[in-house]
Amino acid sequence: MVCESWKEKLDAYIDGELPEADMRTFDAHVRSCHPCSADALARVQMKRTIQVAGRRFTPSAEFRRRVQLSIAPKPRRSFGLGWMFAVAAALILVVGAVTSTYVGTRSGSGQFVSEIADLHVATLASSSPVDVISTDRHTVKPWFQGKIPFAFNLPELQNSEFSLLGGRMAYLDQTPGAHLIYDVRKHHISVFVFQERSLPAKLNENSLSPKQLSFNLETWSQGGLRYFVIGDASPGDIDSLAKLFKAAS
């Protein structure tokens, strides 16, 4: 087992959110792999420290009553410590956040980009991130024939730091598109290509500042297609890959 492929799932493992089969596989791996074991232990300790720190948020009796009325009883999970007070306490921040700026500032573009980020993260967390595995663009591009209602060009990557890992289908607001995954210095970058006219809203590219995202993102429209390049690589790498695509299109 390659540890790197599990690193991205470590948080989900600690949170008890992996499928049962993956949990068993991961359990077995952690028992035999010292680096993963140490990493998992550190994350569990951090989680418990956050739980302890979270105790310090003490809600008022009135607020607790309101929260208890608004939430349904929820089953406890494996890492549970029975934090009845903390349940209400944490919601202080959430309710405060939601009533202040969170909901108010969410724009259509922000929601759109959030979906793109979801697709990127969910794919990397998947045990089979790509459906067509190839570093050859002449293998990956034809794979999309008949699957998406448009054609696009993939850039030549010789003399660049990027390597193509493969591709898969992606759907954004029920619109089919292409999802390509690239690697640059162990960072995975997703490139999504959709038909511009199929997307429900026109994106305000100026509103997509990096502060609104956990990832770096670049998006543009070219030849009737909408491109998204997203990943945790540096803005320079994202921009370089975007330029390669712009040159190829």
């Binding site: 956050i50 302890v52 979270g54 105790r55 959430v94 956040a97 969170y102 959030s114 697709l119 990127h120």
Partner: protein
């Protein structure tokens, strides 16, 4: 029993650690902080957090991952800063 192992020193140390983490959590961007607290303190599942915040599950995952990463970085910097301060003070004492 854990309680039997608690001494005034360990209680003080735990309280100090909690305050450090609390401060780091306070410094997180709001969206990341709320996901982290709902997951780790309230022990909600990803799906429950997604429903509570009206965001996709994938966004919950990415925010949690990012929040924990930022928390580790913040605490790492804080601890490194403390070490530098300690060394500085130690150096001053030696100088005296």
């Amino acid at each position: 029993m854990p309680v039997e192992n608690e001494t005034p020193e360990t209680i003080l140390m735990n309280r100090s650690n909690s305050e450090l983490v609390l401060s780091a959590i306070d410094d997180l961007p709001m969206h990341h902080r709320e996901s982290l607290l709902l997951c780790d303190v309230e022990e909600m599942s990803y799906q429950e957090i997604a429903e509570t915040l009206s965001i996709p599950v994938g966004t919950v995952m990415s925010r949690l991952s990012r929040a924990r990463s930022m928390l580790r970085d913040h605490l790492g910097r804080k601890l490194q800063g403390d070490e530098v301060v300690k060394e500085g003070k130690r150096g001053t004492n030696y100088g005296l």
